[in-house]
């Protein structure tokens, strides 16, 4: 009698499935491109003769939150959740002695790990690059504050994943998540400076993280409630749809 696979085994196989996948280029792109742009700005532009850590981090964080992470994680999550349908592996995946929800949870955990790796790599590179040029002293307080910020960003972006997962599962295609990602980035730019910025889930990571032209009051509670609701609704819809018949 064969052993029933544990959740960790299923997560491990989800990582194996991603080996040599070109879509993984999203991660270094999201992690390093903002860092390199911000670094080159501070290194080359005479308007910024010294690295002021607050400005340096804030610029990078804004670029990640507003432009890179939403689109690239939509693409990555769209791929992970829709590929089983698109590559017709769903027929074998759902005939394993493993529940469908366990597969969903594994994919979600894989996304959390990938987002964490991306943001942590981005943070480390940003710090290291900053240390190579003329800078103000990097205190432990600054380091801890931005570590916490990046961890919070991981959670906020992760909260947006179940909605992407639902779209992928419902449509059995990567196209709707891409459309959603592009639309969210565009709407983000419009909504960011309106009172609705803590209601629109995709602008919340920017609003609740350090950002330029910040307003005097940010409704953190509303932002967190909206993100949690998005996560819960996305999860419920995904689970409901993953249980549907596979044709």
């Amino acid at each position: 009698m064969n052993k029933v696979a544990s959740l960790s085994t299923v997560i491990n196989t989800e990582f194996l499935k991603l080996r040599k996948c070109k879509v993984l280029w999203c991660m270094p792109l999201c992690a390093f491109l903002p860092d390199l742009l911000i670094f080159s700005m501070f290194a080359l532009n005479k308007k910024f003769p010294t690295v002021i850590w607050e400005a340096y981090f804030t610029d990078a964080i804004m670029m990640i939150n507003m432009l890179m992470a939403i689109g690239l994680f939509s693409l990555l999550a769209g791929f992970i959740f829709s590929r089983e349908y698109q590559e017709n592996t769903i027929n074998s995946m759902f005939t394993y002695p493993i529940g469908r929800i366990q597969f969903y949870m594994s994919k979600l955990i894989v996304m959390l790990i990938l987002i964490s790796i991306t943001f942590m790599a981005s943070f480390i590179l940003l710090v290291l690059l900053g240390l190579t040029i003329k800078r103000e002293p990097l205190t432990l307080n600054i380091l801890l504050y931005y570590t916490k910020t990046y961890i919070f960003m991981i959670l906020m972006h992760f909260a947006l994943i179940p909605i992407i997962a639902f779209l992928s599962i419902y449509n059995k295609s990567i196209v709707p998540p891409i459309i959603l990602g592009v639309s969210a980035i565009t709407l983000n730019l419009i909504i960011m400076n309106t009172p609705f910025n803590t209601i629109f889930p995709w602008s919340i990571p920017t609003i609740l993280s350090p950002h330029q032209n910040g307003r005097t009051y940010t409704n953190y509670t509303l932002g967190i409630i909206v993100l949690c609701t998005t996560f819960i609704i996305g999860t419920i819809l995904s689970i409901k749809n993953i249980k549907k018949d596979v044709h």
Partner: protein
């Protein structure tokens, strides 16, 4: 009594007003090679999908290894290998990597089974090639390797020879026979190709428009596979009289007016012909033929097709 591997009770799948599968009762016993025969769209794949838990029946139950199948009871599937429709693979990975994922998810600890199953399916040469480079036939073979990897007791194969060349079809047929005879694996195989089922199955279920029209066991199947002499004559009654009186032939049927099938004295074609002519029976045609499942299948579903 033979152990029952699969039993379905009034299995039904309804899509709006259309019944894709209608009250299907299948019984597969240990060691059977159950041929599931039907035209395209007859309901074979839908039935197999319900058996493998991919779609929920609208009505009815499925019993696998003597236990009722339900959403929370998926442990049975570690004892089942399957190919449902066209087998899909992670195209960025090699054949071995794909099978390794399957091995882990099936909870098989021994890694040697990967090489063994690739060898059994005749695809060991391509073990380290990415599956995106595979032809349709190679993917089908890899699907078979995957279905066999965890040493299942029951194989569910939905048209497994799709995309294979004639030699490949023959090899897979032989493989299925070997698995059944040497490893005592029970097989449910669907096809719309009658000859394929006829050469493999010990039991055949004919499905048409969602309904299981007939289940034929191996004994009946053998009978449906008999050789006979077909006589086309101008007068049935007179011919039959001559056959009985002059040639002592009793195992015959009048299949249609003017056509008689004789199931004995198959080597005496010329003698039969001679005697009938000597007795003034006009023989239009005489030939040695073989009953086939195809005739039976067409007879069963033919009226519907012609309508």
């Amino acid at each position: 009594m033979m152990a029952c591997i699969l039993k379905t009770y009034n299995l039904t799948k309804k899509y709006k007003d259309h019944k894709a599968v209608d009250d299907v009762n299948i019984t597969i016993e240990k060691g059977d090679i159950y041929g599931f025969l039907g035209l395209n769209g007859a309901g074979k794949t839908t039935t197999m999908r319900m058996i493998m838990g991919l779609i929920k029946p609208t009505n009815g139950n499925i019993e696998l290894f003597g236990e009722k199948l339900s959403e929370d009871k998926k442990h049975f599937f570690s004892r089942v290998g399957s190919i449902i429709e066209f087998p899909g693979f992670y195209e960025n990975l090699t054949a071995v990597e794909n099978l390794d994922i399957h091995r882990k998810l099936m909870g098989v600890l021994n890694k040697d089974c990967i090489e063994q199953s690739l060898e059994t399916a005749g695809i060991l040469d391509a073990a380290n090639r990415k599956t995106k480079e595979f032809s349709l036939g190679m993917k089908q073979r890899l699907g078979i390797a995957r279905a066999l990897l965890h040493n299942p007791e029951f194989l569910v194969l939905d048209e497994p020879t799709n995309g294979l060349d004639p030699i490949g079809i023959k090899e897979i047929r032989q493989l299925i026979l070997d698995l059944s005879q040497k490893r005592h694996i029970t097989v449910l195989i669907s096809s719309h190709i009658l000859s394929e089922i006829q050469q493999l199955a010990t039991k055949v279920g004919i499905i048409h428009k969602g309904k299981l029209l007939k289940e034929i066991n191996s004994e009946t199947l053998k009978k449906k596979n008999r050789h006979y002499i077909e006589l086309k004559v101008n007068n049935d009654r007179e011919t039959v009289f001559m056959l009985e009186q002059k040639l002592n032939i009793t195992d015959y049927i009048i299949s249609e007016p003017g056509v008689i099938k004789i199931y004995e004295k198959l080597t005496e074609t010329s003698n039969i012909n001679k005697i009938l002519i000597q007795n003034n029976v006009e023989v239009k045609e005489i030939s040695l033929l073989r009953d086939s499942l195809e005739d039976y299948f067409i007879k069963l579903v033919g009226d519907d097709i012609n309508e």
